[in-house]
């Protein structure tokens, strides 16, 4: 592998959606059901359908001292539910999903929990897969023995993760960048140990309701069939629920002397790991496109970015080096990182800092800007060339409250970005005297 998968993943996240001269399949709005909005893209060439439910129930709603609760609430949906015809054990759920040739998965990020179904589109198979997912989503059983088992498994994995340089780095970096915002806290042995069945039931009751859900569907179904899917999925979900306290604002990373912003973590590994970054913008920020295009030049554009050139191509200091904006619905961050032989930590940090500082100060050259736009615009069709990628796009558009024609105008918006806009946006949102820095395992200090 010439570039680690992590970078490829970031590449995709950073680029989001694209638009094209080609005909774009439209996003159709379905009937709102139980307060949940729902959307469809019809693709008829394969007899399959992908369905996603996004739930506004991400890690940021973990109560103080219970980090890991949002994850556990979603994760245990796999392990027992009350179906319309009686209890479904974890074994029955798993066997039935397998027998249908379907996949049902749950994942939780900072902002949202996501349930995804992939099934063949034939009605009887599709119906049964959706019924199963509906039972998991609306009436999980939260068995205390299974909770005890899964807590123990999570704790064991956490203890293992704490021996790994990348995990320790990321956890510390999150704590610095999020400050008093709830995402600052990562799950710990103590917080996971504290989760009870009633915590799960309460969290589920509070957050898993129609007015906090969005359904996205891509595949071989028409509007009527898609509406039917939404109704089957959510028919036992309450429309609304108790009031939920608003989240605090994510405060912008403040100007601080270096000593206040940089942390060195001693770590006995062969490589030093470095993270640098600060708060940035949400996805619906009008400066999103200048930042996206600019970051392609700085550290997003695979092998051709400035960071790649300075750190890897010119100096051979690292295998992986990158920067990205991670824009969410309400908040966003900027992050750059690399790993290098432990005695090169200071040098690599210096090269990375200088490269970022120079870019904030001077912006891209006109030829760099043209190259960035060419890549993003010409590469558009690759972002939407299968059902799974289309689902990723639809999901991001509707979650972030973007216009439904976002895919159609994306390339135009990229193309309209000017040098001045890039420079102005980088100077407005990023500043070297605000950057948090974590250096783990460097052995030259």
């Amino acid at each position: 592998m010439r570039v680690p998968y992590k970078v490829i993943l970031i590449y995709l996240l950073g680029f989001g959606l694209l638009d094209s001269a080609q005909a774009i399949l439209p996003i159709e709005k379905l009937d709102t059901y139980k307060g949940a909005k729902a959307y469809l893209v019809q693709t008829k060439t394969l007899p399959m359908v992908d369905i996603e439910v996004s739930i506004d129930a991400g890690d940021r709603y973990d109560p103080a001292g219970k980090s890991g609760l949002a994850d556990m609430t979603a994760g245990l949906m796999n392990y027992g539910a009350r179906g319309e015809k009686g209890l479904l054990s974890e074994a029955q759920i798993a066997d039935e999903i397998a027998d249908l040739g379907a996949n049902i998965g749950l994942s939780v990020g900072g902002e949202r929990a996501i349930l995804r179904i992939r099934t063949l589109s034939r009605k009887d198979l599709r119906d049964r897969a959706v019924q199963l997912a509906s039972a998991m989503l609306s009436t999980p059983t939260y068995d205390s023995n299974i909770l005890a088992r899964e807590k123990q498994r999570t704790i064991t994995s956490l203890l293992e993760a704490e021996t790994k340089p990348d995990y320790v780095l990321e956890r510390r970096f999150k704590k610095m960048i999020y400050g008093t915002y709830p995402l600052a806290d990562s799950p710990s042995v103590k917080s996971v140990g504290a989760i009870t069945v009633s915590d799960l039931q309460k969290f589920h009751q509070q957050f898993y309701r129609g007015d906090r859900m969005i359904v996205s569907i891509v595949g071989d179904v028409d509007q009527a069939q898609a509406n039917e899917i939404v109704q089957t999925l959510l028919n036992r979900i309450p429309r609304s629920g108790p009031a939920i306290a608003p989240l605090p604002q994510l405060e912008r990373s403040p100007i601080e002397p270096l000593a206040q912003r940089e942390v060195q973590i001693p770590f006995d590994s062969q490589q030093a790991h470095i993270a640098m970054g600060m708060t940035a913008v949400a996805r619906n920020n009008p400066d999103y496109f200048p930042l996206l295009v600019g970051n392609y030049v700085l550290g997003g554009g695979g092998f051709v970015s400035r960071l790649m050139s300075e750190v890897r191509e010119k100096r051979g200091l690292a295998y992986s080096v990158f920067s990205y904006f991670a824009p969410g619905k309400d908040t966003g961050t900027f992050q750059a990182g690399l790993q290098t032989k432990s005695d090169q930590g200071s040098l690599a940090l210096e090269v990375m800092s200088d490269t970022i500082a120079k870019f904030i100060a001077d912006g891209p050259t006109s030829s760099e800007l043209a190259a960035a736009k060419a890549n993003l615009v010409n590469g558009y069709p690759l972002r939407i060339d299968n059902n799974r990628k289309l689902l990723d796009n639809v999901s991001s558009i509707v979650w972030n409250d973007l216009p439904l024609e976002t895919m159609e105008v994306w390339a135009k918006q990229v193309d309209a970005v000017t040098l001045n806009q890039v420079s102005a946006a980088f100077q407005k949102y990023l500043a070297m005297d605000r950057m948090k820095i974590v250096v783990l395992g460097a052995q030259n200090k």
């Binding site: 394969l46 049964r128 092998f303 590469g379």
Partner: protein, 455 residues
Amino acid sequence: MRFNLLRITFLFLLLIQLSWATAKDQSDTHEFQISNGLKLIIREDHRSPTVAHMVWYRAGSMDEVNGKTGVAHVLEHMMFKGTDKVKAGEFSRLVAAVGGRENAFTSRDYTAYFQQVEKSKLDEVIKLESDRMSNLNFDDAEFLKEIQVVMEERRLRTEDNPSSLLNESLMATAYMSSPYRHPVVGWMNDLQNMTAADAREWYRSWYKPNNATIVIAGDVDAKQVLATIEKYYGAVSAQELPVRKPQIEPQQKGIKQVQVKAPADSAQLAMAWKVPRLEPGKLDDPEPYALELLTAVLDGYDNARLNRTLVKQEKVVNDVGVGYDMVSRGPELFQINATMAKGKSVTQAQASIRKAIDEIKQKGVLESELKRIKVRILSEQIYKRDSIFGQAMEIVSTEMAGFSWKDIDYMLEKMQTITPEQVQAVTKKYLVDECLTIAVLYPQARKTIGQEGKQ
């Protein structure tokens, strides 16, 4: 009971519905060989205006010789470092300019390069790939920087990764003479002593049209693509390839064990048995298919045997996984990996794994288990068509192992005919101690974890 009946009905319907999936006609796929031996396979898929373009060389780490492990992968990196016409780094800039995504990867069996582009840009990347098949020309300074990058890659993926260290030791222990015993990235000392000349020699030996397969999947017209390929590759001449010695692994004569100590929290266990792979020309040999199905019986879905008993019921391991791939150039292992649950020992985990295997040896597997797995295999055949990249990967990795892409559907059909008795038979025959290697990771505390400090 109602649930069982329901399940059986669904299963029955699904099997009928899916029968077309394997009986699909192959008219969307075209194979050509041009006069210099270059093989071209085109899968037309007109769902979206994009193309996956891949050039694979049948030269991987298994073709390396002693003292030069890792050279296949190092050359993969050097392939981006300039030709007579395209200077270092320019390849990636040109691919980026047409909006392409690109990467490359090396395995024990092959080295692969790919780009994904909008269909009108296909000619541009064909031209670039054809240029570096014949005209690679990097200088020593580029090599000296890039070998540092490769060493960083090894530090990142292996030296600081206990699971990788365990796997590296497992392979080096299981195999005595097969080159599969060496890691793809190479041993660190070999990387430290590698020269630009080593990389150039590798390139001159293996990067020939008669050792390459091009696969293009997506919205293309096969005839046009063939003309473009002939235009860019036609002038390249074939060359005799180095002789590949068989290096057949001698018969193992008893259990082998190895311990690895590395910074970690949980102990890990790997058990690997030497088992047969599917041999070209012997597509009807039931054993490899039965081993594939055994893999899935043990680990193919959330309620499969090992996850159910070891993770959920006995709680003796935190995670467990099974690996076997019947399609490969070199010898195959049937491998079970597990991470211990808190407070459980490797001995306990090994006993539980052995118990699960013994149960299959004695009682066999259920018809319903096999059916479930066969359904999944069939539905995956539909899902895989969502990705042209995945289709291209499947075609060419099959070719690299010495099969034809045309065999893929036959293999899938064959898989559907395997019986519980055949699965039981391979379990009895191959999952035995005489050909078993056990590797254990014993977790160590990190030596010096001091206090966090400010700058």
